[in-house]
Amino acid sequence: MRVSIFRFVPGMDAKPRMQDYEFELPRDRDLMVLDVLEQLKAHDSSISYRRSCREGVCGSDGMNMNGKNGLACKTPVSEVAKRDRLELRPLPGLPVIRDLVVDMSQFYRQYERVEPYLNNDSPPPAQERLQSQEERAKLDGLYECILCACCTTSCPSFWWNPDKFLGPAALLQSYRFLADSRDTATEERLAKLDDPYSVFRCRGVMNCVNSCPKDLNPTRAINQIRTLLVKSGT
């Protein structure tokens, strides 16, 4: 198999280039894309990428594999390789620091904007703020996000307005706290989202859902926020 990797080393490369590597796939089993990268790095230590847990929990190794974003550690080569070719590029739309490593500052700034923590001004009870099973169930499909940025960097609306449109990951987290029965800042949260860009730039392209390695649905969360905004009459 031929593996083409997006290479850019600051100070050495004036612009990015694709570097080809030949890779012998084992016949008896499938490999994850990260396994391929690890073995290539053993021969060429200059290849740079992020990785940590290698089991889809830390969200470090998000990258673009043959055109689709995903986590290299849980994407089987057989699923993405086409005609014996695997092309690896960094997450789209973010500045490349080196090779497959991108600067996620913009992504984190948008995450920070939605105040991803419980806001509750009532005095805390002695032990914990309780929820009914139904209230807790509303958070399913929202809290599991690992912030790998696969969704946000596959979203055309985020590519064009990265500073104004919050992006699917931040909006999923925004709804996670809007839907939380223990959070009392719903009105304030909605007021901060009420502009033409933050939420309403979503055009239902669904590439976020298409690329989420945790099978979450940010589009659904965004539509829920829109409904809340309409109902709140802001």
Partner: protein, 125 residues
């Protein structure tokens, strides 16, 4: 300071779902309809000019060039309307799953084709 770091955003190398194509074409058809509205306004103004102008307009619209332009405008309108309807349905929480969105996007494409054929039949037959 200007950021000199490269950004990977080669749209030919990034795979997008069919809903993305529907969304892009929705904008393109919207822009084209805006241009076409001047043509339609011109036809309207002509038709309101009097009985002579009205008859002249009927003869003008029968020419192949005008028939094709009118047909294209109808196709654009059908597409823009149907894709817009899909957005409204999504706002009403219908078709929010990946599979449903794909079915919705394909339905928009197929219904537009049907609408184009029907408008062609209406104009030429």
């Amino acid at each position: 300071m200007k950021d000199s770091r490269p950004v990977f955003l080669d749209l030919l190398k990034i795979r997008l779902p069919i809903a993305a194509l529907v969304s892009i074409l929705h904008r393109v058809s919207g822009a084209a309809l805006f241009v076409a509205s001047f043509y339609l306004l011109f036809l309207l103004a002509m038709s309101l000019g009097g009985s002579t102008e009205f008859e002249q307009l009927q003869l003008t619209l029968a020419t192949p060039l005008h028939a094709v332009v009118l047909w294209l405008t109808l196709c654009l309108f059908s597409y823009h309307f149907l894709a817009g309807l899909r957005h409204v349905l999504m706002d009403l929480h219908m078709g929010e799953s990946l599979r449903a969105s794909r079915i919705g996007a394909i339905s928009v494409m197929v219904s537009t084709l049907v609408a184009c054929v029907l408008s062609g039949v209406w104009i030429w037959l």
